[in-house]
């Protein structure tokens, strides 16, 4: 099973994400933002955290227009898997692959600490290694993680069981305590917390590792 991790100027979690995929058994290639194609046979694309293009204009706005993002959108539209973490989540909302937007944190501060997340659904390739209701510790590190969507979109996310994770103690003002959401086909996950930073004993926590293990298991069977 093959993963590709996109690298933008300003990405800073690309290698962490690659290591998390590798430890779960993926063959990982890094893809530069100017590339217009993903490597042949990629099962899942990782869009990493960081500050792509210096967060100019809006977080993720410029990255969403990059050549590689067109390939990521095509991959998602073909039913391919994708994981966007932090800035990667912002980029996926800017491309329209995921609904809503990430606003400035309600408390205005950049927040960098481990928070408790509740697994809201185990019905996805990303979350099947958890039980719904599990509480896991995963680091956040963001200034613009305040999830916003209109009432209609929020209702659809709830009705379709597409909220993947919620914050136990909402740190940033996100609507419905949302920390991560799934696409309609459940194959794209965007989340502000960093599971790749909780995937090795050396990180101080391994609660994120189950996501990468579950993905690798599912994609092996498929």
């Amino acid at each position: 099973m093959r993963a590709a991790v996109v690298v933008f100027p300003g990405s800073n979690c690309d290698r962490d994400l690659a290591v998390a995929f590798e430890q779960a058994g993926f063959d990982v290639s890094m893809v530069w933002h100017k590339d217009s194609q993903l490597p042949e046979g990629v099962d899942i694309v990782g869009v990493p955290g960081g500050f792509s293009y210096g967060d100019y204009l809006r977080c993720g706005a410029i990255a969403a227009q990059s050549p590689i993002c067109k390939a990521v959108i095509d991959h998602a539209e073909r039913g391919g898997y994708a994981l966007g973490v932090c800035n990667g989540f912002q980029i996926l909302t800017e491309t329209g692959v995921l609904p809503g937007a990430l606003l400035r944190n309600a408390g205005l501060k950049y927040i960098c600490r481990t928070v408790e997340l509740k697994v809201a659904t185990s019905d996805s390739a990303f979350t099947q290694g958890y039980n719904a209701g599990d509480v896991i510790g995963v680091p956040i590190a963001h200034h613009d993680g305040n999830y916003y969507a209109d009432a209609e979109t929020l209702a659809a996310l709830k009705d379709q069981d597409r909220i993947a994770f919620t914050y136990v103690d909402n740190p940033n003002g996100s609507a419905e305590d949302i920390a991560g959401i799934l696409s309609a086909n459940r194959r794209v996950l965007g989340m502000m917390p960093h599971p790749e930073r909780a995937a090795d004993a050396g990180h101080g926590g391994t609660d994120g590792a189950a996501m990468f293990r579950a993905l690798s298991g599912l994609l092996t069977v498929a």
Binding site: R58, Q65, A101, L103, R104, N105, N146, Y148, D150, G173
Partner: protein
């Protein structure tokens, strides 16, 4: 031709930066400020032949995120 684009968070979308500015103004003694909204202004220098429709297209595709922001175009 020059165009000026004003981008603002839509009404109903919380603007924590505007709120912080409001608080700071209050702390300075400006007690008649009931609300502050902060946005951005983007000036475009455009070549001959560019139209307002082009600028609108730019706003829709990049300059504003219409999920959360509204925009206004001023041509000069």
């Amino acid at each position: 031709m020059k165009a000026r684009v004003h981008v603002m968070l839509k009404n109903g979308v919380l603007d924590p930066q505007g709120e912080a500015v409001r608080h700071a103004l209050g702390a300075l003694g400006f007690d008649k400020v009931e609300g502050v909204r902060q946005g951005k202004v983007i000036d475009l220098d455009l070549a001959e032949g560019a139209t307002e429709a082009d600028v609108k297209d730019m706003c829709e595709k990049l300059l504003a995120n219409t999920v959360i922001e509204s925009y206004e175009i001023e041509l000069a």
